[in-house]
Amino acid sequence: MGSIIFRKKKSTFLLFLLPGVIWYSFVTIIPLITSFSYSFFKWSGGPNKTFIGLDNFKMLLQDEIFWQAFKNNLLITLLCVIGQIGFALIISSLLSTKFVKFKNIHRSVIFFPVVLSTIIIGFIWTMMYNKDYGIVNWFLQFLHLDFLIKPWLDDPKIVMLSISLPIIWQYIGYYMVIIMAGMTNISNEVFEMAEIDGATGFRKLIHITLPLLKNTIMVCIMLCIAGNMQVFSHIFVMTSGGPGTSSMVMAMYSYEKSFSQYQLGYGSAISIGILVVSLAMVFISRKLLGGKNDDTAY
């Protein structure tokens, strides 16, 4: 009986679904298609648009800065996977122990940076990293570690580490909450049994929690990879890819080429490059890490 009620005419479907679908396609699918067509031109936004075939893509394949940017994306991703998920694991297993006080406050406070704008985070950390007026150097001085004092964002050798730290810091709370949700799915009996057997602290984490959280961690790693292929605003604010191109990432490079140098044709080719590389990374990580395990993870 119910199934008869839940049947509608085709026109009803179209009437109700089309507005949303069209709106959505307009900003996702159509730009993707046009992006392809622009990438075959040499074009600076004006009336002169020269067809150059695959030249933009040839240039992209040989563009050292683009590939350096891609490597930087990979480096940030690696640092984030280790820093964010590793730290989130430690924090969440500590938070899940019985004797910890103010659990909910900890959770809310640690999650707070996640909801802040990446721009704001970029500004705050730029100030924190300032050579003379930043708290990073203030603390080092306070701890009598003067020899570590550095212009954190101006030294090409360490700039990648300096820009990764705020990104790691901002999202630890995010992965912490996902991991904690995964932990509540592990039955308490398992932990109690382990404790009776004498497994505590670190050993419990390595031998019991980690194996049972495998799927959750896989999901976290995939989220981390997908997110860090897109990293932009933090870097835009902190270094704009500098000094030189030492902290350049793909999105920053595409922005610079398209909107500072007005190479819209080449910028489109870079966009396609970003798309291909990002989707490939997401795809490879899914294959390597054993498919989509959302259902079991959550």
């Binding site: 119910g2 900890h106 999105a251």
Partner: protein
């Protein structure tokens, strides 16, 4: 001997428990310390700040806030951000609710495709779309208008909202609509007066998440809008920081103004926000 042994163990346990608590408190402080530093410093004068960046402000001065408002269009930027965020959130809720309802309740040709279509949207890196969207908007005269940013904000808000609605509506018993149909209610009436009110909890969650992401959005606002009168807070802050790069307390006052709404909403709804953001992410 025995008693001593248990005592030692108790002591050891006590120490490790205390250490864990201390560590977690320290970490929590680390998570909000930059923000507290920023808020405290925003009440200092420039000279006061330069003298000692960590000292407490000698008195609470609002002069930086007044200056931030006076020297930049902070008020206008906030209004623009608020307008964009609110309008696009309402539209997202409306469109996603309808699509979510259809995905949850009907089986139709193309349903699988539609789901995959929205899934795909979550995979596309936004930065791959910036350049083509910019060109498209220029061509269609959508560039730098009052409603410009609402277009991508709605589109990129849809996928996650659709998924959250779909899974929520699946959990609502069908008897609700069946009874209404027997009473002779029309389809739109059922949709908006019967189902929508039941969805209130998820509407609130989605609404807050959408509002936040729009309030914070940067790349599209950077590329698609040019006039001062349409700029949003993140873009305004960027100009502001260029102008007052050396006056940290003033800059911090500007930043604090930008995050006050976020802090307020977070304090009230943090449980809902955390829940919404993480289920959304994992389901996607």
């Amino acid at each position: 001997m025995m008693i001593q042994h248990t005592r030692r163990r108790a002591l050891l346990k006590f120490t490790s428990n205390t250490l864990t608590n201390v560590f977690l408190i320290a970490y929590s402080v680390f998570c909000i310390f930059p923000i507290i530093w920023m808020i405290l410093s925003s009440f200092k004068s420039s000279a006061e700040f330069n003298a000692d960046i960590m000292a407490m402000p000698t008195s609470i001065k609002f002069s930086n806030y007044i200056d931030a408002f006076k020297t930049s269009n902070m008020g206008l930027y906030s209004l623009n951000s608020f307008f964009n965020a609110l309008v696009s959130t309402v539209i997202v809720l409306f469109l996603a609710f309808i699509i979510g309802y259809f995905l949850a309740r009907f089986s139709f040709t193309g349903k699988k495709f539609l789901t995959a279509f929205f899934m795909f949207g979550m995979l596309i890196p936004i930065h791959a779309l910036l350049v083509p969207t910019f060109i498209l908007f220029k061509k269609l005269n959508l560039f730098d208008q009052r409603f410009t940013l609402i277009i991508p904000y709605v589109a990129f808000g849809l996928p996650i909202a659709v998924f959250l609605f779909t899974s929520y509506i699946k959990g609502i018993p069908k008897e609700l609509e069946e009874a209404a149909i027997i009473d002779g209610a029309s389809f739109p009436k059922i949709l908006f007066t019967i189902i929508f009110p039941v969805c209130r909890p998820i509407v609130l969650t989605i609404g807050i998440l959408q509002f936040f992401s729009k309030w914070n959005e940067f790349p599209f606002a950077l590329v698609l809008v040019n006039s001062e009168k349409y700029k949003t807070i993140p873009i305004g802050l960027r100009n502001f920081s260029g102008q007052y790069a050396t006056n940290y307390p003033l800059l911090m006052a500007g930043l604090v103004l930008a995050i006050i709404p976020v802090i307020l909403i977070y304090v009230i709804f943090n449980k809902k926000i955390i829940e919404g953001m993480t289920t959304g992410a994992v389901k996607g």
